[in-house]
Symmetry: D2
């Protein structure tokens, strides 16, 4: 029997349609380094989905997408404002500092991984522009959905982008779970990105059924001017780029990306509702995408692990539970049976 | 009809066995970030093939493998000796400088992309150790097979490694076409690497039938101490690492890697012999692996392109042909028919 | 009439004894790049003053001293814990990130620019070691005296160093105003540094009467192994190093350094006491060295500026005054008359 | 008796006028970080001397000047063409790679440290623009006078700048011995810099009688846009900037800079002529500024050292003497007596 895991959406494999798309792309030779037809076709598909001529670049990991995107949005001596629990601050081993050549990250607080215009404004005021002493604020980085499973509404996102733009900062959006946010809100991709003011989006595929596929999307083509050099020197330009393009080809076909994300979100809803109904279990953040954050007694956590239900305790800055939180992530492969049996264990203990 | 291409071995797709291996690996969930069973199994397979306990790290591109490997072999103020035509000097957009945090590359000359102990010794003497003024020589980087299609014999490699070690330098080996070199020489992988003195090998799979699979092999585990941090911050740690491991799983099964490389090499031999027999065509370097470098009249180059036979002129430092060289690369997919029809065109013009 | 300034201790010129020492050092030729006799003599003097064989390196600025020192105490992917108001976080334009090749700074809160073992421990717990995801905590950076004019006692310093060492972190001490701290506490230099557990001290001379003289002191010589390369590549090795050595030669002669620091401290005490006695003025932090932080009505600040008394508002993270604070810095050149006339203006308004 | 040294011009002390200027600048408080009146006055003086509105930035070392200047002339993935014997390639411990965030240096050959348009053009052709694979050529760096004591004429300089500009590259001029070149040629500073096409000049004072004073001059103010941030984060902005300005104040007063340089040049002429007249001594390069390169028997070198005449063997790429060369540098302090007694020793042996 395979284990049941809520450890992370990246413990899931690839959706079969993604493998099919890779097989299709494998016919015959193709130009290398992104000059192939499939890459061009999929780039165009991104423009359709986002209703805008944009520049799209494929890489294999979210860390690469974020780091490379930030490297063109900030000078090496600049300061990136981000949430203290964000992936770029907590989970990329100082990758943004590396890619940018030494930019500073300023971690900010906010419930459920979300920033607010007030928090951003206060940070800018408290770290005033004193050239050349303080590192000048140069970029606002947001995450959609957040590390804590929350989602910015279109208007929340717009308010934050407006605040950033008024201070002269471009906005980077870490969209490792962008599909989940689109599925959750029903908003158009354009509304959740450039129409709200996002300058550059890191659009994730890996956590939602791809093997290794992320796209950096520049809504302002000028900002993309030297991206290809930065991607190449960082070893993130695949010679056989068609095999990332192929994954997105499969991902977008028949709306697969939203089907998968909606499925993962729905499973999380079930899991969250089920847990909330159990005495002694507390849901730490609203369950808005495919992640559930909950506090339950340690003996429950232990029993779950003993019976093969994987998940991780989640320690994060600003944690309202004081370090007692567990993170449970659903993927497109999570089944209702898995959730039911998981909840059975929780209830039994 | 599909075009016939000698443009590069990375224009080829993936071998079907590689796709099969990926599909096999897609069963059920797996731990992320390299903690899965398949990754561990394939790491162990590398140790068997190289007859040594070694530390193995997977990445998706050769540029990442080289840059990351070099970043642990040299301090950021060190100097890497390399061939002036090497990939790290000519084709990675200053990637090694980026990954190392600013190390210097000292380009050296030598026929067919090969260095000799004499050239290395002369460079060390000419760039003497004057701490802290000159950047101290810190690493020797070699390529096997070279950018010019040549192969170091075991004894040539050993002599170079001895020269480097006597000067206190570790040896990095760019093995993007290591499989071709093994197939060409019949030498054991261990003899072409650590037994000859290589400290760290970047073992390529991508050019020889994989999608995106490279392995950085540290024969001295101590040198690998902080590699995982460097790979992570550079965005080169896949969350679904099993899908690189899977490619190598397929690559090593039933000796596929050597079968594919031998095939590509054999095709290049045929092509080289065929071209050498044509009046007015000159072979620039001995054809030792899967690359043929030749000079032929421009009207021939043009006719080939017009009839759908892709290949590139090859401008390289130290070029004996003064800029008139063409590079023709065979892959595991190259057929005898393609070579025959290509030679027909050459002969006809 | 010269203006009266409390803007910063670096608005003061050099003490005449420092210029005399430079003139003395100017006799005849001297070996360059630190191989001269005076440099060696002054390095030895540092060892006497600190009662320990240590490695000493001269640079011209505090930013260089801090950045270079940190670059050998942390790997490029590491994380430096520091106060949110520290110079390395607020005033060096992302210099530490630059010198270290991309290390992360984690800003922590604490009254008057001081950290406590509890704050450090909580930060380490909240940013847990999850190799290779989170940037691993790699260094604790403290400041003595702090940006807010406070001083760590020997026992406070020791407790912090113990906390750091238990977590495996070396301790960096920014001592731009170390002389003021020594003068204020009466403690021996050794007690305020290595005996308390400090691994590397950036010892400042510039703010206290030198022209441009800072020393990076490694109490553990092994940590200094590659410092000379890092200093050189960063352009911080003077060819005529004797002229930094000369400044320290003058600085240490007859205890000048402590005389100057004690004078600046005493003036600040007078200023602070005078201000505290004025209705409507509030002293924000205890005045422990040569800096006074106070809140007074804006019309007072304006009147002072109008009458030629320079000083700056001081916006700092964790500011208890909510942005209304003024910083007044005394130097070794500050006179009792200046303070009296300044207080007269304050009282008059 | 003081030793007689031809080791380097940086073994000399400071000219007394420089110390006087520092003493003058020490009157009263002054704004820090370059906002003081003297700094502004001296910046304006540079504009007069160069007959152009330009942006001028002071730093303390030549390595800082070069590295910082290059960091704004090249992107981090760019390639700087330079002479293989240049200071930036041979003597700055990979500093340019550090300051630029990883740009590549391409070392080129040429007699006496000089490049020619032909060499530059050939390099550009041999390292063709293949975005994003090869690091794109981004800057041409020249040195005036060269490391081998040669000087570019105005027309030579112009031809090189034209070649660079045609390829879209800005020109950086390392002018550590610019004063010597001006004194030697009698050309106007403007003619030897921007009028010939130089975009950014690193103007040295240290080797010619200052303590530590270099100026980075941007003839195109736009290129200077973010220099102040880069200087600050690298720790090269002095708080007491007036003390670098003061050195230049003294340096320019009554043409001191050219007097000192002319003196050093004249002494080198005498030394060179004297040596050339000795049997068995060969002058390796024309003596055009204050450096003499000569080959003489090892017993002569030994005898000189034994009798207290310091100088260094000089190993440099492209050395016509095969490693047997000695470098003899005259400074503004070199006397005719020293040269006479030196030559006596040579003749005696």
């Amino acid at each position: 029997m395979l284990p049941v895991t809520f450890a992370s959406d990246n413990w899931a494999g690839a959706a079969p349609q993604i493998l099919d798309a890779i097989a299709r792309a494998n016919e015959g030779p193709a130009r290398a380094y992104g000059a192939d037809d499939l890459t061009k076709k999929v780039e165009a598909r991104f423009c359709e989905i986002f209703e805008k001529d944009c520049r799209v670049f494929f890489v294999a990991t979210g860390g690469a997408a974020n780091g490379l995107a930030l490297s063109v949005l900030t000078p090496p001596y600049g300061m990136i404002l981000c949430h203290e629990a964000s992936h770029i601050q907590m989970d990329e081993c100082a990758g943004p500092e590396f890619f940018t050549g030494g930019a500073k990250l300023l971690p900010l607080a906010g419930f459920a991984g979300k920033l607010t215009p007030g928090v951003v404004s206060a940070a800018l005021a408290g770290f005033p522009d004193r050239p050349p002493h303080g590192s000048p604020a140069s970029c606002l980085s947001l995450t959609q959905g957040t590390e804590c499973g929350a989602v910015y509404s279109v208007s929340e996102l717009k308010a934050l982008c407006d605040t950033a733009h008024e201070a002269g900062l471009p906005v980077h959006l870490d969209g490792a779970r962008f599909a989940n946010a689109v599925a959750a809100t029903g908003a158009k991709p354009a509304d959740l990105s450039w129409r709200a003011g996002v300058d550059t989006l890191c659009f994730g595929g890996t956590k939602n059924g791809c093997i290794a596929a992320e796209a950096v999307i520049f809504f302002d083509p000028e900002k993309a001017a030297d991206f290809e050099f930065r991607r190449k020197r960082a070893g993130h330009l695949w010679s056989k780029t068609r095999f990332i393009a192929a994954q997105f080809d499969g991902y977008f076909r028949d709306g697969l990306w939203l089907t998968l994300a909606a499925r993962a979100n729905a499973m999380a809803q079930k899991l969250s509702a089920g847990l909330a109904a159990v005495d002694g279990v507390e849901i730490s953040y609203p369950t808005e995408i495919n992640e559930v954050f909950a506090v339950f007694p340690e003996r429950v956590a232990k029993a779950l692990l003993d019976q093969g239900y994987f998940h991780y305790p989640w320690i994060t800055p600003g944690d309202p539970a004081g370090g007692a939180m567990q993170r449970l992530v659903c993927s497109f492969q999570t089944t209702e049976d898995e959730i039911a049996s998981f909840l059975d264990v929780v209830r039994a203990v």
